[in-house]
């Protein structure tokens, strides 16, 4: 079997075995539906959710909050990280506070953000932005700072301006780290969205999970969890592909990731 088909078939076999174990366990030990739902009931929940369409507004709400917050958080992190890496003065002014904020568990701030930004979309977007900011921020700084001194000397010998050096050398040199930051921020931003929805929301997959837990509707909870997994996987996969395409010179697969 070719390594490509092995990469597809083998994980599928694992999935089959797990599914079988799931079904068998429920049958054998007679587990009630309010503890572990059957795969059939989860499928049923997914069908009523996505075919009949009840989940779509929730799915899209969570997706929207996540993407918007992610873009804002990562964008700000890129700009502020670049400024901080470039300016010692700026660093001295803000760095201690940024570290303090990084050490604060962002989840603990969620209720505060809800109070400040309301119970609608804004609070979720802020929460996502805040939580996806840090890994991206730290990675941008580390990436820019590790630009090889030889490359910088080279540019200085040829009288390149600071801006020219930044865009032509430092930013591309940091690209590998920046994409590593983008990749972990995907997962963190989903956490941010769900937590904000847990705290208070009338929409979203996080809200659905909470509502279902009150009704002990585990099939719905499982279906929502699966939906979150799909968003997370799609996001990280997208970032991985973009990383390979855009940073083609970076052959290191697993960059040490700084941050959370």
């Amino acid at each position: 079997m070719s390594s490509k088909s092995r990469a597809i078939v083998f994980p599928l076999i694992t999935a089959m075995v797990l599914l079988l174990a799931w079904v068998m366990a429920i049958r054998l030990f007679d587990v009630p539906d309010y503890l572990i739902p059957t795969p059939q009931s989860v499928l049923q929940a997914l069908k009523t959710g996505y075919v009949d369409g009840q989940y779509w507004p929730h799915f899209l709400f969570t997706l929207q909050c996540t993407v918007l917050g992610y873009v804002i958080g990562c964008g700000l992190a890129l700009v502020l990280g670049s400024l901080l890496a470039e300016s010692k003065t700026f660093e001295q002014f803000v760095y201690p506070y940024i570290i303090a904020l990084q050490s604060t568990p962002k989840v603990a701030i969620a209720p505060l953000i809800l109070v400040w930004f309301g119970f609608g979309m804004a609070s979720k977007v802020v929460m996502v932005a805040l939580i996806s900011f840090f890994p991206m921020f730290i990675n941008t700084i580390v990436g820019i700072r590790q630009t090889s001194p030889a490359m910088l000397d080279l540019m200085r010998v040829f009288s390149a301006s600071r801006l020219h050096i930044f865009f032509h050398v430092k930013l591309p040199a940091a690209a590998g780290h920046i994409f590593a930051g983008l990749q972990i921020s995907v997962v963190l931003s989903l956490i941010g969205a769900v937590v904000a929805e847990f705290v208070s929301s009338t929409k979203g997959l996080g809200f659905l999970i909470q509502a279902a837990s009150i009704n002990v509707d585990l099939a719905t909870m499982f279906a929502c969890l699966l939906s979150l997994v799909v968003i997370g996987l799609a996001g990280t996969q997208l970032m991985r592909v973009l990383h390979q395409r855009l940073v083609f010179w970076d052959r290191r697969d697993n960059l040490t990731v700084q941050g959370e």
């Binding site: 200085r156 010998v157 040829f158 032509h168 690209a175």
Partner: protein, 276 residues
């Protein structure tokens, strides 16, 4: 067949220059560079004087850690001297200059740019006319034998090829002076010999003033009009040899008795340097 070989002895060479060329293009006088280190200041270079004439190829050899790279950093304007003076065509070097090119120890190519774009890096930094620069870059790639690799990325090139791109890049803005800091030190011996031939060919085509730093005696002798020997730290020029072997020199030069005589003389000098 009698070509005079002159080896000038200059034991206390505070001024190593016999002024062979009318006015030197580059001149260092009583140059001193002191680094601040944790255990107090360290003198990398002390009272160093040397000249480089128009169109002349000069090598500086010396034991490792003698301040050769520091010297080239001063000439490139990356490092300010602590005392003494360095001048370029009579005016003090107080920062990087657009008429100086440099080739580094490692090729230091930007991996996200093609070979052609890498050669164009100085041209873009200096905001030179784009079309002319592109034309020149193609010309230079032909000169270094890499016209077919213009669209390749550095990772697809061997070490020797990368360093040839580095040489082309050092020449793209048509500098009057080319500084080379041990450009072949990262290459294997076979490639080095070949690169020396290449460099001589390129230099003869361009006739730039060139300052070449190396720790390889044969390389220095093969390439240069003059070889300057630096002492161990703090570095000074303690000896100057004029190499009057005819050009173009080729692989047969390497076994020429005059060539080997100079090399062994230099090697003996090195021995003394290390044991003192």
């Amino acid at each position: 067949m009698a070509i005079a070989l002159q080896a000038r002895d200059n034991e206390h060479a505070t001024d190593a220059s016999p002024a062979p060329v009318s006015t030197p293009m580059v001149e260092a006088r009583d140059l001193g560079v002191t680094y601040r280190a944790s255990r107090g200041p360290v003198a990398a270079i002390e009272r160093l004087s040397m000249t480089l004439g128009q169109g002349e190829f000069v090598s500086v050899v010396g034991p490792s850690g003698c301040g050769k790279s520091t010297l080239i950093k001063v000439f490139s304007g990356l490092l300010a001297p602590s005392c003494g003076s360095v001048t370029f065509r009579g005016s003090a070097i107080d920062g990087p200059r657009p008429d100086v090119g440099m080739v580094f120890q490692q090729a230091t190519l930007l991996p996200w740019k093609t070979v052609l774009a890498n050669v164009l890096v100085p041209a873009r930094a200096l905001k030179l006319d784009r079309r002319k620069a592109e034309h020149d870059a193609e010309e230079l790639l032909r000169l270094v034998g890499l016209s077919n690799f213009a669209k390749h990325y550095p990772s697809e090139l061997s070490g020797g090829m990368q360093q040839r791109v580095g040489i082309a890049r050092g020449l793209i803005h048509d500098p009057a002076l080319l500084l080379m800091d041990e450009p072949f030190s990262a290459l294997d011996t076979m490639t080095r010999d070949h690169m020396s031939l290449e460099l001589q060919r390129i230099w003869m085509a361009k006739r730039k003033s060139a300052l070449f730093i190396t720790h390889s005696i044969p390389e220095a002798v093969f390439l240069s009009d003059r070889v300057l020997v630096m002492s161990a730290r703090p570095g000074r020029i303690i000896r100057e040899l004029r190499i009057e072997l005819p050009r173009p020199r080729d692989l047969s030069t390497l076994v020429d008795p005059r060539f080997t005589a100079i090399c062994s003389e230099l090697r003996q000098l090195f021995e003394q340097l290390v044991h003192v």
